[in-house]
Chain length 294, copies 2
Amino acid sequence: MDIKEYVTIRSKLVNEKLEELFPKSGPGIPILRESMYYSLVAGGKRLRPVLCILGYELSGGQNIDEVMPQACALEMIHTFTLIHDDLPAMDDDDFRRGKPSNHKVYGEAAAILAGDALFVEAVGIFLQGVIPDELKVRMLEVLVNALGVDGVIGGQVLDIRAEGRVHTRNLVESIHLRKTARFIEASLVIGAIGARAAESTIEKLKTIGIDLGVLFQIIDDILDETGEERELGKKLKKDHEGGKCTYPKVMGLDNSIKEAKKLTEKVKIEAKAAFGEKGALLEELAEYFLNRRN
Amino acid sequence: MDIKEYVTIRSKLVNEKLEELFPKSGPGIPILRESMYYSLVAGGKRLRPVLCILGYELSGGQNIDEVMPQACALEMIHTFTLIHDDLPAMDDDDFRRGKPSNHKVYGEAAAILAGDALFVEAVGIFLQGVIPDELKVRMLEVLVNALGVDGVIGGQVLDIRAEGRVHTRNLVESIHLRKTARFIEASLVIGAIGARAAESTIEKLKTIGIDLGVLFQIIDDILDETGEERELGKKLKKDHEGGKCTYPKVMGLDNSIKEAKKLTEKVKIEAKAAFGEKGALLEELAEYFLNRRN
């Protein structure tokens, strides 16, 4: 199975499980559920859940049902961060994944609350399933470390504050690490913990996860400058013109592409060293990130 | 020890532990931490942590250090909900606990993110301490049920949508239950689980918790109409004039006071039946809620 097939098949399983764990109709205030569901099923590559499953399988896990609740929770949390990022007070994006942003459909107050509730319900779903409680606690610790004051939310604070300030390589790397890379790293590691991976395996996945995450974000920045709006489903050049601190702005477009290629090679070497033949999926994933158009 | 002394002593312990678990300086992006800390130490009665400790002690718990991380996490989560409730897109409150609201000091984007990060870091702190992992998981499940689509956040959605609509007793009870009562209930129950309480004890605390929570919120609504701004540290009559669905508006002020007194008596009977002499603190707590001025 190549990585494209792997992502297609695994993300289909994730979508089915999400539908089961968080259906449109269910307990709670219907309009709140609806607004959460709207953003949750708006598309997206289900990258974090797929990485969680991949981390599990690379670590020897034999039954991916074991980590499906945790994988799905990661997507819910990613969706929460996107809803809040798009708010008028933040990046003020009217489109996301080719559809109107949550606050354009439901209003600003509802969008803030939909994001909040997605995180809350994600924690509930994260605690479900057959994984022993001591592993769930450890996996959840990894997750909150990747999200909090020194993770995704900390990175978003840096990102917003960077507008209109001096942009340096140091700053853009600091933002990328927190806003994207640590969550990608955590997704792989959470799956690995679910498969009772050895500490040495987890350490290797951490390095690979950070490199993959930075690579992913550099390409994101490049696509903001060179991509097709139709393919990406959001307004482009907004980061560049909006004063965001992006990789191409600090390093130039050519150097950004060079850096992305360098990271791709680095991941391939790391994956081979860590997992041998089995690491091929990670090697292909790096290539897939490098060449993606959306 | 009477309830006033109990609240004073236990809330002091909570403040000390919060300072230890989430100091102003620590890991993460400094300005984000600072904005979280600003709202966390802005005062407040530390009611939810104290109720958690009380639930623990009433259930026979002998060492309150066991549940201090979870108690502190409850206050962080309460603070998160207050920061988001005060946002311009929500209730648009400029003051909270006598100080400018978070977004008045740090801006709207930072306030949204401070709320988000308080919740994330609270989950991390909730997982700390010596309580066995299987109990932590159960306690956290209780918490997310009290917060999510059918809890505090669901209640806030109802609350916001009620503005400008027909207000009924049914609606105000539905809002109070979710916005306030279920979190008060969860605080008692989380402490009880930490003390390995019998299921029968937990069931009794659930009933008492809901009644206490509804009582607390009815008094809150009454104070909005009759209280002193200086004592309450926030703008009053805002709920009434702002089109909120409140108890006095639906039932009238006299009937609201009657209902609060009825609930107080109900809690006293329930507390005595459940805990005998030991239940005196809960009885006094109901009286304390009934007579509070802030």
